[in-house]
Symmetry: C2
């Protein structure tokens, strides 16, 4: 029987709990999401593979639907990758879907937009169950200024001020396609951002400044100044990584 | 100025994420909830203390409102214990309240009933975020037989069959004061049990058998037989510890 060993392009949809990982990107001698999934694919296909994601996530950041693809000359079906990888991977990483894509598909280049969600837990006492999964705010938050800030960042802006790479000489103009604040019960705020691209730490720096507005530590006008000033020092606190979730990638 | 150094009896309400702990009870060279809280109280009062809880919880089991008390000849106020312990303890343990009690108050002996909650997450795919916090069931669950089982265990029963201490010669009769199944959205089932006392692994063994009934692996009549038979082997699977939460202690 002939085996079909032409090269396939396989796309994975992946959820992971980023707690305890050094982020997505493979690093020597460090536990990373890319590193461990590449290793398990390698075990299955008997060869080294390169797994390309829609984008990196930092240490402690989570994903609900990260998208990544790899090429392999193997007759293993997508369903067998789905079953096999889930049995080989630790419980902190879940392959939600695997499927064939045309040879030209590229998880990063072809992404039209990405949606990030930042979860804030507002309560007097910190929950011992949420320390890796939300940003706890104990002081009272005012929703109105935060909504105004979320509107200000919509559209085309130079987001340099919210970028953590200080010496980044690259183009920092991005289009914020949509923003939203979703409340869940009395304690939860989900800040949702859809953009054609995100700079390093951009969401966490934006959320840090918006929470300052919600606490009345800065005004909405001051927030607008921060965005327009492009001076990073004015941007204030960076929200912790555990509240951040890569929610969706659109192609 | 005179200090009030008479012995005080102080009651704590405690929430903890049991992940990574060897349970409540102090053990030499092992990370336990009792051990670490006693250590931090000791740091504050400058003396060894004994912290008495309403009951032990096993490794990996959580608490939303565990109650414990200790006696100390110190003029540190309950509010200072509340603030001080929360600053000394790891984020996985939260002191929710501290207050003075009469000298005779005893967290274990005075407990009238305890409420445990067991959380089941029913979905085809396991969530990487819930592996320490719920029992994942991928097959379809039928609510009706599970509700019937939850009714059968109400009242006074010999719960020996659901107790993990095989050679336990003690009295195993307990009164199940109330039971309930709460559904939250399409995926969550909370099994709630209130009893005057619980045997070792009792909730987890009961939930294990009830899930078998929900999966139609056993009938409701068979579940009734299990309870009445007192033969432990018939009880089947034990639900994993991460789904179990000590919810409330009534005095």
């Amino acid at each position: 029987m002939m085996e079909d060993k032409t090269e396939k392009n396989i796309r994975l949809t992946i959820a992971y709990d980023g707690t305890g990982y050094y982020g997505w990107q493979r690093q020597p001698d460090k536990k990373t999401i890319q590193g461990i999934i590449e290793e398990k694919i390698g075990t299955m296909v008997g060869d080294k593979v390169l797994l390309i994601a829609s984008g990196r996530t930092d240490a402690g950041v989570h994903a609900l639907n990260q998208v990544a693809n790899f090429k392999a000359s193997s007759n293993i079906t997508p369903y067998s990758f789905f079953k096999g990888l889930n049995s080989l991977l630790p419980d902190s990483i879940l392959i939600k879907e695997a499927r064939y894509m045309p040879a030209t598909f590229h998880s990063r280049y072809d992404a039209k937009s990405k949606i990030y969600e930042y979860r804030v837990y507002a309560d007097k006492l910190e929950s011992p169950f949420l320390r890796h999964y939300a940003w706890h705010i104990s002081r009272s938050l005012d929703l109105k200024p935060m909504k105004e800030c979320m509107e200000i960042i919509r559209g085309i802006h130079d987001f340099s001020v919210f970028c953590s790479d200080g010496d980044n000489k690259n183009e920092n103009i991005r289009t914020m396609l949509n923003t939203d604040i979703i409340t869940r019960g009395p304690n939860w705020l989900y800040f949702v951002f859809e953009a054609d691209g995100f700079l390093r730490h951009m969401v966490r720096n934006i959320v840090g400044a918006i929470i300052m507005a919600g606490l009345s530590d800065i005004s909405v006008d001051y927030f607008k100044d921060i965005l327009e000033s492009k001076y990073r020092k004015k941007a204030g606190v960076k929200a912790p990584p555990g509240g951040l979730y890569l929610k969706h990638v659109k192609y």
